[in-house]
């Protein structure tokens, strides 16, 4: 193994250059969609549901004292 500090420095520089180039390549990656549906599906899958929604809903259900009745119970 070459222990010359200059050699190691060159290697590190080469590695850094390579990593930077790779990073730029990843950042500029272009995604292609075959259809409008595919774009919208991808968009939907990436949009997070706000966590506060479930909390607000649970609070509203509790505050209103709502009790759901299954549809089939109407016939009993």
């Amino acid at each position: 193994m070459n222990s010359d500090p200059r050699f190691r420095h060159d290697l590190r520089e080469q590695h850094e250059e390579h990593t930077t180039a790779e990073h730029h390549q990843q950042a500029a990656v272009t995604r292609e969609y075959a259809s409008v549906e595919e774009v919208l599906c991808d968009d939907r899958n990436q949009v997070p549901v706000p966590p506060t929604l479930a909390e607000r809903l649970a609070a509203s259900v509790s505050a209103q004292g709502l009790k759901p009745t299954p549809w089939w119970r109407r016939w009993l």
Binding site: E32, Y33, S35, V36, E37, P48, P68, W71
Partner: protein, 188 residues
């Protein structure tokens, strides 16, 4: 308000059932909250308004679950409530603000890149571009595209939700896709 993006796996479509709701309803929420919230977000264009709308939709669904007919699809039922709710909100807004939506003929005469792939440089900009694109479309096209993007809905169910035949849905979707591709290309 800025729209946030989720970096989680696209396969993770349903959420963990939330705490504090009855078990059956929590399961329903976990399975359908994402599509309901997404539909409201893209129809209203604002994350806070969409959250409010989704909250009201699920609260209404919770109260009306007794009226839900078991022969109807739950997703379709929730979408119907969402569409009615968002439509009411938009009508209230448009009564206060003059807003001119583009008509279908504007897009029907345009030669768009209908068959070419839709390119997006960075995923994080996707949401903004889609929102801009959808807002440039006639309301009916916007709605049809959002519904057809949900693989769980058939053309027949989309027809029921938009009060037209499945053949009409197919015909309009063809024009809606072209209109979307044309408008989307302009947002690049």
């Amino acid at each position: 308000m800025a729209e946030t993006r989720d970096s989680s796996s696209p396969e993770a479509l349903s959420l963990d059932p939330p705490v504090g709701l009855p078990a059956d309803f929590a399961a329903l929420y976990a399975a359908h909250s994402r599509p309901v919230y997404y539909l409201a977000l893209r129809l209203l264009g604002d994350p806070q308004q969409a959250e409010d709308a989704a909250h009201d939709v699920f609260l209404k669904a919770f109260g009306k679950i007794a009226e839900f007919r078991g022969d109807a699809d739950v997703r379709t039922w929730l979408y119907r409530i969402t569409l009615n709710h968002c439509s009411n909100l938009r009508q209230r807004w448009s009564a206060r603000n003059i807003h001119t939506a583009p008509d279908e003929e504007t897009f029907d005469h345009l030669a768009g890149p209908a068959e070419s792939p839709l390119r997006v440089l960075e995923t994080k900009e996707l949401g903004e571009r889609i929102q801009t694109t959808l807002e440039a479309l006639p309301e009916e096209y916007r709605l049809l595209l959002l519904l057809v993007a949900d693989e769980q809905l058939s053309y027949e169910q989309i027809g029921q939700l938009t009060q037209q035949s499945s053949d009409a849905v197919r015909g309009k979707l063809h024009r809606a896709r072209r209109a979307f591709a044309t408008a989307f290309a302009k947002t690049a």
